[in-house]
């Protein structure tokens, strides 16, 4: 069974640097410079203070499955989920290169970069 092709993300001027880093195999997380707290998804203003004091930090790329669901009615099937990164934020993803029946809440996973339509690489996760 071939995997579902991921559509090209609609990048824009605010998030282009995040996507460029993905193409280099780096998952960059935004962190509020005022509070020191990571947040998700990437943006140029901190959702904690609305200040532009936002830095980006390369994630370890590891975490655990918060929840997931396998879309049994689609062809091909695909597994969508939220991963809680070790840095403490939770992001949506697809689980790839694995047996969907082996997935479980709490399973350790690591980031891999998968080419979407058009060539942009996007972060996905696979069992660690």
């Amino acid at each position: 069974m071939s995997a579902r092709k991921i559509p090209a993300p609609p990048t824009n001027v605010e998030n282009q640097d995040f996507w460029d880093a993905c193409n280099e195999g780096k998952l960059m997380l935004p962190r509020c410079g005022d509070t020191g707290r990571f947040f998700w998804y990437p943006r140029k203003l901190s959702p904690f203070t609305l200040s532009e004091n936002v830095e980006t930090v390369e994630a370890a790329g590891t975490g655990e499955i918060y929840t997931y669901s396998v879309m049994r009615r689609s062809d091909p099937q695909y597994a969508i989920g939220y991963v809680r990164l070790d840095e403490g934020i939770t992001m949506m993803t697809n689980f790839v290169d694995c047996d969907f029946d082996s997935l479980a809440v709490g399973m350790r996973v690591k980031a891999v970069f998968v080419e979407a339509e058009g060539g942009q690489k996007v972060p996905c996760f696979t069992p660690a």
Partner: protein, 392 residues
């Protein structure tokens, strides 16, 4: 500004259609509006406020006020928070009436996703490329069903909720729908029927999902002096609450909803508690929607929803909390994939003693209607209203 008892629902209408190949969206809105005004004993000349949400065609009020020939509108509100919009509109109309901005507010909903062949639950949902969260989620294929399925999975993980417990919610809805001649699904189903139906996106089965239907509905909220001038039984608006809930900057929690905030706001304004409610209309896009909402509104402890809904506890005449006695979205209809408005309608029927006799709650004094919009736990609107009889 408290609005308790300062507005009344005077008229309601539910479009009987479930598949409207021969009618336009605007036409369904207008037919529903006419029904609600007729029910109240009012005319389009009396309407001085109009409310609608994203299902209304064109520029919402700017298009529909003209289409329906509403000539006296001096107040309008097109707040669109998905399926929760119309319960929220009850509160906004009560506020506008209390502030003296209007006396007769008309709220309408309509749509025809079934005739248009919309893949409502299984097509990836994109709120538009300019939506700032879309690049980071849409590419992974979030659909209505798998988003709610992920909430169900996490609830099961944290609280031990089972598919069988969720199934009881559909079972209760089906017991009610058998008496509704317009309901799409009128067969009474069992827990086994639900858990043995095909898995759409695990752990949700086909019968955990609501129907996809065309249709519409409308209601009229009026000032006290208008209510007292009408012959029709009017229902008093006692309390309203609303809340957004979202991804919380990356602190995602899918085990609770915005009802955690909208519910207490409504109960406080009404001056009542969950235990006082005789009947509840709970938004039911999926079984898990009902379960989390009941917990968040305080009908049971967080995490105990599975036990609460089991063994027929939501069935009118058998359980402690009769819910969705029209069959709800799970069995009757879900016009334009937005079930908030029909939740208000069945609550009004119960308070007027006009629900089907087989499901009418005896001496129903207090009812609650709750709307859920968007996607459970991640980008959602929650709205709660508490209604009572005119003498409440």
């Amino acid at each position: 500004m408290h609005t308790r008892g300062k507005a009344f629902i005077a008229g309601i209408s539910e479009h009987p259609t479930r598949k409207a190949v021969d009618k336009s969206v605007a036409q369904l809105h207008a037919e529903s509006a006419r029904g609600a005004l007729d029910d109240a004993g009012l005319s389009i000349e009396d309407v001085d406020a109009y409310y609608c949400a994203g299902d209304a065609p064109g520029l919402g009020p700017l298009s529909m006020v003209e289409y329906m020939g509403l000539r006296n509108v001096r107040h309008m509100d097109a707040t669109d928070v998905g399926g929760s919009s119309y319960v929220l509109h009850v509160g906004h109309a009560a506020q506008a009436i209390t502030a003296g901005k209007c006396k007769v507010a008309l709220i309408t909903l309509a749509g025809r996703p079934r005739s248009e062949g919309m893949a409502t639950g299984t097509a990836p949902r994109n709120y538009g490329d300019a939506s700032p969260d879309v690049p980071f989620e849409f590419i992974y294929g979030p659909t209505v069903v798998n988003m709610y399925a992920m909430a169900a999975r996490r609830h099961m993980h944290e609280f031990g909720t089972t598919s069988e417990q969720l199934a009881w919610i559909k079972v209760a809805a089906s017991h009610h729908a058998q008496h509704n001649e317009h309901a799409m699904l009128r067969n009474v189903v069992t827990v086994d029927d639900v858990v043995n139906s095909p898995v759409i996106s695990d752990p949700l089965h086909r019968l955990d999902c609501c129907v996809i239907s065309d249709g519409g509905g409308a209601f009229v909220v009026v000032a006290p002096e208008v209510a007292s001038s009408l012959e029709r039984d009017c229902v008093k608006v006692l309390g309203c609450g609303e809340a957004p809930k979202n991804l919380m900057s990356g602190q995602v929690d899918l085990t609770y909803t915005g009802a955690r905030w909208s519910g207490p706001r409504a109960f406080e304004e009404a001056g009542v508690a969950p235990g006082d409610i005789d009947y509840a209309s709970i938004y039911d896009s999926f079984t898990i929607t009902v379960l989390e909402t009941l917990e968040d509104l305080g009908f049971c402890e967080k995490g105990k929803g599975g036990a609460f809904v089991s063994d027929g506890n939501l069935i009118s005449g058998a359980g402690k909390l009769p819910f969705n006695t029209d069959g709800g979205g799970l069995c009757s209809n879900h016009p334009m994939n937005r079930g908030g408005l029909t939740k208000v309608l069945e609550a009004v029927r119960q308070l007027r003693d006009e629900a089907h006799p087989a499901v009418q709650v005896k001496d129903c004094q207090l009812a609650l209607a709750h709307g859920t919009g968007g996607s459970l736990g991640t980008r959602m609107g929650s709205s709660t209203t508490i209604l009572g009889r005119a003498d409440a």
